[in-house]
Structures are given as structure tokens and as C-alpha cells.
């Protein structure tokens, strides 16, 4: 069959199905009249065309139709986005918006208290304060019960003129300190001056962190576990861990205040110094050896029993004879915050505020640990570990952060709440992931992905990413072999 005949027959096919343009169809018809063979072919095909029109068109099963429609409806309803109400709640779950909401509420509460103070008789509030505190007693709007410890502002000048450091524990409870100013100065002289190099976390204890670090520490602590309240009056007994809203809100306030204090912290020229009454600093990483940890657990006679006051620490018995925990806690790794920020960070041990503001669960944990660990009581260490771990992650010191967070989990054990554990797992996963240790990261992410935690989504994302990488590496190891026969290219040369 010549090419021209093929072309002609192709055009006949087009003519049959009416795909030729009008003028082309007329031209072809004229040609057909002149070519008898072509005309015969066309007639035959026309006959086949007419006969094939009789080909029955089958109907599909009606059940299929309805099944398809049912699935289509389901899919359409599933694809619809969340409603306005659902979106609002989704928005609330966003930590940023939640923080904003808390900020607004906090501001409103603050303004209410402020208004109340201005309208009321302010002399009552002022009268409750010591004279030394008066200059520093800003009209903060706090009720008298929640006001700063009276001597706190007075301790601040004592710490700063030393020109060395600001110690959280130093300014924390000067009113309760029994040591004289000379003793304090001597102690300050013994305290090693903290280094301020970039590798601070590796060398320096948590207590040497600067003010932003303290804010970070407070933030970490607040984010970890502030929903447990322990009544300090029940020291030595099993305590109830009932979450209270007031504890949360107070914690948030403290965090905010600490951040503010960090912002207006000591000028750069001022270095750290041990404040009066401050105990010597103890490093987080250096103090707790695995041996000590084991000993701590075995050695703690009662889970929440108050620890015997370590000889090195400043232990001040309370009125009822129980040992005071706060001084050692104040010496914890909250950082070198000035007294104002320290006030925001610490758990006050004053009897007046003790009843209303119990220490965190960490301090209770610390009681058991401190029996063996000496100055570094466990509660303090947990908070400090969390803070330093957070900062290490933020600073990109992942290996160090892994060590810290693992220690945190070891020390915390069963005492850690699920939120605390999840936070630690997430930090560990982040570190391992950043170091390219995907298997290790995966182990922690798996623990988080299925849970109803704020990290679940991010954990799942990271997990997906890791799984994708694993699949990709597997594929690269075993290349897929596809036979040529098996390909879907249905067309081949006729």
C-alpha cells in the first residue's frame, strides 16, 4: 500500500466520523467519484460503520453508581475544612495565641489590682513592709501577702557593689540568713569567678548562668511542670500533687517577671559575685556522678522526706523545727540573676507565702536527693538540668544537651510528670536529629508521636522525615528492577 493510499484511507476514516473540515470533505468526495477503488473501500467501511452502530451499549450495575456517589459524598464532607468554631479552638491550641491570651489576661488582672491599690488605702500595704524595702517597693499592685520579701531590695545593693556576681540564692532570703555580712563576703571571695566564654555550659555550673539564662531557666521550668502544687506545710509526708490554676498563673507571672528582669539586668561591665548568704556554687554536670545517682535512690529513706541539712549548705530551721529547703534551692542553677529576677524565679520560703505558694514538685524531689548529693539537692538539680538542657539545645550544644536531658530523665524517674518527660524526649529527639542520629531520634519521637502532647505534631513531622530518609536509603541500597514487559507502555509498533 503506497503512502498516498494510506493517507487517502486515513482521510476516509476521518470522513466517516465527520472530522474533516467542510471544504476538505467536499474535495475528498469529489476524489471518491473519480477513484472507483477508493469509492468501494469507502462504501464497505460505511456499511461496517452502520452495522457497528447496532453494537449494544451496556449499562453498568446501578449499585456501582450509588456506591461511587456514597464515597464521593464522604470524601467531600471529609475534605471540608473545619468550621469557625473548630478553627477558633485550633487557634487556641497554638502556643503563641495561648501565650498572647495569657498575657492579656495577666495584663487585665494587673490593671485590676493596680486600680484597686490606687483607690484603696496604700498605707496599709506600705506599712507592712520594712523601711529598707520602701524605696524599692514599687506600686506593683500585688496584694500584701504576695509582695516581695521585705529585705530583698535591701540585699540587692549588697550584691552589686561586690562587683562580681549576682547570686540568686544570695538575694533570695537575706532575712532568713544567719551569717553576717563578713562571712558572706568571705564566702563570696571563695566562690570561683564564673567564666563568660562561649563554652560556659560545658565548664560552668548552672548557677553561673547569667540573667537571660535565668529567665530561660524559669521559662523551661514553667513549661515543664508547674501544674503540681505541694503544700510545704506537709513536708515530710506524702504530698498531694493537685494541679491548681493559681499555681499556673503565678508561675506564668514569675516567668514574665523574670524575663523583664533579665531584660533590664546588670550592665555588661558588672560581673558575677557571690552575694551575701549565698552558698558556693555547684556544677550540674560535675556534681552528679552515676554513682551518686544510684546512691541517691537507694539511700533515700523516704520518698519525700526532708533531707538532712548538708553541712556545706545554709540550712535554716523553720519555726516548727523542720529544715528549711529554700536556701539550698536558692543556690541552685537559676543563674546569676539579680535580686529582682531572683525574686521572680525563686520559690519563697517565707512562712507567710509558703502556705499560699508551694514549691514545685522539683523541690520535693530534691529533698530526697539532697541527702546524698549534699548541696545539690535533687529538686534544684532537676530544674537546673532542665534549664541548662534547654539552653544547650538553644545554643546548638547537642551532645551536651543529650547528656543533660538523659541525666534529667534518670534523676527524675517516676517523679517526672508526663509533660516533663515529653519535653525531655522532644529535646533529646531534637538533639539526636540535629546530630544526624536518626535511629536514636526516632526512638524518642515514637514515644511522642502518638500522644496527645504539644509536641505530637512536630514529633510526627520529624518522624515522617526520618522514615522518608530511611526509605530513600533502602531504595538506594536495593534498586528496583522492572522488567520491560511489565511496563505500562501499552503501545508498541503494530
Amino acid at each position: 500500500m503506497s503512502d498516498s493510499k494510506q493517507d487517502m484511507e486515513n482521510r476516509l476514516v476521518e470522513l466517516l466520523y465527520g472530522e474533516l473540515k467542510h471544504d476538505e470533505a467536499d474535495a475528498l468526495r469529489q476524489e471518491l467519484e473519480a477513484n472507483a477503488e477508493l469509492k468501494e473501500t469507502y462504501d464497505d467501511w460505511n456499511h461496517v460503520y452502520a452495522v457497528m452502530d447496532e453494537l449494544p451499549l451496556e449499562e453498568p450495575d446501578p449499585a456501582v453508581h450509588y456506591e461511587i456517589l456514597r464515597v464521593a459524598r464522604q470524601q467531600a464532607s471529609a475534605d471540608k475544612g473545619p468550621g469557625l468554631f473548630e478553627r477558633f479552638f485550633m487557634l487556641l491550641q497554638n502556643p503563641a495565641f495561648a501565650a498572647l491570651g495569657l498575657f492579656i489576661i495577666g495584663g487585665a488582672v494587673f490593671s485590676i489590682f493596680k486600680d484597686g491599690l490606687q483607690e484603696g488605702d496604700g498605707t496599709v500595704l506600705v506599712g507592712e513592709m520594712k523601711p529598707s524595702a520602701l524605696p524599692a517597693a514599687k506600686p506593683s499592685g500585688r496584694p500584701a501577702a504576695k509582695s516581695k520579701p521585705p529585705a530583698l531590695p535591701a540585699a540587692k545593693p549588697a550584691a552589686r557593689p561586690a562587683g562580681k556576681a549576682k547570686q540568686v540564692g544570695a538575694a533570695a532570703k537575706p532575712a532568713l540568713q544567719t551569717s553576717s555580712e563578713e562571712e558572706t563576703k568571705a564566702r563570696a571571695a571563695r566562690t570561683p569567678r564564673p567564666s563568660r566564654n562561649s563554652n560556659r555550659l560545658a565548664r560552668s555550673p548552672i548557677g553561673e548562668l547569667d540573667a537571660p539564662a535565668a529567665a530561660l531557666a524559669a521559662n523551661a521550668e514553667a513549661s515543664l511542670e508547674l501544674d503540681t502544687a505541694i503544700d510545704e506545710t506537709e513536708l515530710g509526708q506524702e504530698r498531694s500533687y493537685e494541679p491548681t490554676k493559681s499555681v499556673r498563673s503565678r508561675a506564668k507571672k514569675r516567668v514574665r517577671k523574670a524575663k523583664k528582669a533579665a531584660a533590664r539586668s546588670v550592665p555588661a561591665g558588672q560581673s558575677n559575685a557571690t552575694a551575701p548568704g549565698a552558698a558556693p556554687m555547684t556544677g550540674i554536670l560535675g556534681v552528679k556522678s552515676p554513682k551518686q545517682k544510684t546512691g541517691t535512690r537507694k539511700g533515700s529513706p523516704q520518698r519525700f522526706a526532708p533531707p538532712p541539712a548538708p553541712s556545706a549548705s545554709v540550712s535554716i530551721p523553720l519555726e516548727d523545727g523542720r529544715p528549711e529547703l529554700a536556701p539550698s534551692k536558692e543556690a541552685s542553677g537559676r543563674g546569676n540573676v539579680d535580686s529582682e529576677s531572683a525574686d521572680g524565679l525563686r520559690r519563697s520560703s517565707e512562712p507567710s507565702s509558703r502556705s499560699s505558694r508551694g514549691p514545685s514538685v522539683n523541690s520535693a524531689k530534691g529533698e530526697a536527693g539532697s541527702a546524698v548529693l549534699g548541696r545539690t539537692d535533687r529538686g534544684r538539680s532537676l530544674a537546673a538540668l532542665a534549664a541548662s538542657g534547654t539552653q544547650a539545645v538553644a545554643g546548638g550544644q547537642y551532645r551536651q544537651a543529650i547528656t543533660i536531658w538523659k541525666q534529667y530523665l534518670d534523676d527524675g524517674g517516676k517523679k517526672l510528670s508526663s509533660a516533663q518527660k515529653q519535653y525531655a524526649y522532644f529535646q533529646l529527639a531534637t538533639c539526636h536529629h540535629s546530630l544526624g542520629q536518626f535511629s536514636a531520634a526516632r526512638r524518642y519521637l515514637i514515644r511522642l508521636s502518638g500522644k496527645n502532647s504539644p509536641y505530637a505534631t512536630r514529633a510526627q513531622d520529624m518522624l515522617d522525615m526520618i522514615n522518608k530518609k530511611r526509605r530513600a536509603s533502602r531504595k538506594s541500597r536495593t534498586p528496583r528492577i522492572r522488567s520491560k514487559k511489565g511496563s505500562k507502555s501499552y503501545d508498541s509498533k503494530r
Binding site: 486515513n10 476516509l12 461496517v48 451496556e58 453498568p60 456501582v64 461511587i68 475534605d79
Partner: protein, 208 residues
């Protein structure tokens, strides 16, 4: 906006393009999808039926095709024609089905087992003979049975092109796009299909 005007005016979906309908379905309009379903289910069913040979399988594959459309509606790109997309899904499913059959039947290639090598005829004995439980029974007249038999005896490619053009009324250009080949190739296949059908139905023509 257009869809809103159409909705306000109470116009039916008959004049709306496939692409608009699938986009409307993507926005949650199930009626738009129903219109698409009604528009194509019969043609597509016949296409699949001529491909796989039995009503039961054709029903399954039809359902599977539209379910794929439902699930992948979000991925549909308006630049492609919906009709081509739909038929491509169906065709791939048919090919997969035939491949599974081939594996089950002992790994003999479909072309090898069915080809008679007599000038392009493909004896569809395996499909039409053993699986003709469905649509042959439905066909009442002798003529229709003969037409179906003749169609089944065509080469796969010729039959596919013939069904797409004659039954589903797709244009040659659309068929070429669907099958990923040139328009001339499609016309040639159609030409061969006509030649073979003419021979197969010659005795019928003489009876007439």
C-alpha cells in the same frame, strides 16, 4: 462566580464543562460529581467492558476508576482534560487487571496466547470464550452477538481505538493524547480495524 450564577439561575450542569464540574466537586459540590458520573459512567463502562471482557470485572473497574477520581480530585490539574485523565485512569486499571490475569494463567503473555498471527486478528477466545458470562447474555439479538464477537476478535489496539472512537465518540486527537501516540497511528489502527471488521462481517453482509 460562574458556578454561582449558574446555581442562581437554576441552570443544570449539562452545559458546564467537565473541568468546571470537577473543580466544583473539589469545593464540596457532590451534585457536580454526580453530573460527571452520569456523563461518563456508561461510556466508560463499555470501554472497560470491551477491554476486560466481563461485566463483573467491568463494574469493579468502573467503581475503582471513579473512586480514584474522587480521591485524587485535589491533584487534578485543570490544564489537562478531565476526559483524558478519566480514561487514562481506567485504562491503567484495565492493563493492571489483564496483567494479573496473565500472571494467574501461568505467565503466558496475553498477546502470545491470543494472537493468531493472521493479519492482525486476535482471537479473544480466552476472554470472550471463557468469560462471556455477562454481556453476551444481555445481548438479545443474533446481530449484536455477532458484532460483539467480531469486535472481540480484533487486535487489542485496533479494538481499543475502535471502541474509543465509535462507542465513546472521542476524537482522533483525543485518542492519540490518551494513548500517547500520534494521530496518524490512531487513524491507521482505525483503518485496520475497519478492514478486519469488514472481513469478519462479510458473511453477514452477504446474508443481508
Amino acid at each position: 462566580m460562574l458556578s454561582f450564577i449558574l446555581m442562581v439561575l437554576g441552570d443544570s450542569f449539562d452545559q458546564v464543562s467537565d473541568e468546571t464540574l470537577i473543580e466544583r466537586y473539589r469545593d464540596g459540590d457532590v451534585d457536580a460529581f454526580e453530573t460527571l458520573l452520569k456523563r461518563y459512567e456508561r461510556k466508560l463502562f463499555n470501554y472497560i467492558l470491551r477491554y476486560v471482557g466481563t461485566r463483573e470485572r467491568a463494574n469493579d473497574l468502573l467503581q475503582e476508576t471513579f473512586l480514584k477520581v474522587v480521591k485524587n480530585a485535589d491533584r487534578y490539574d485543570r490544564r489537562a482534560k478531565f476526559k483524558t485523565w478519566l480514561y487514562t485512569i481506567a485504562r491503567n486499571l484495565c492493563i493492571d487487571q489483564l496483567r494479573k490475569d496473565r500472571v494467574r494463567s501461568g505467565g503466558v503473555s496475553f498477546e502470545q496466547s491470543s494472537s493468531r498471527g493472521d493479519g492482525g486478528f486476535a482471537a479473544k477466545d480466552r476472554i470472550a470464550g471463557s468469560h462471556d458470562d455477562g454481556y453476551k447474555a444481555v445481548s438479545s439479538s443474533q446481530l449484536q452477538e455477532r458484532l460483539i464477537a467480531a469486535l472481540e476478535r480484533l487486535n487489542d489496539k485496533q479494538r481499543e481505538v475502535f471502541v474509543l472512537r465509535h462507542v465513546d465518540q472521542m476524537r482522533f486527537r483525543e485518542i492519540a493524547e490518551l494513548l500517547g501516540t500520534s494521530e496518524n497511528t490512531i487513524k491507521s489502527r482505525m483503518r485496520y480495524a475497519f478492514e478486519n471488521l469488514r472481513e469478519l462481517l462479510a458473511d453477514y453482509a452477504s446474508e443481508q
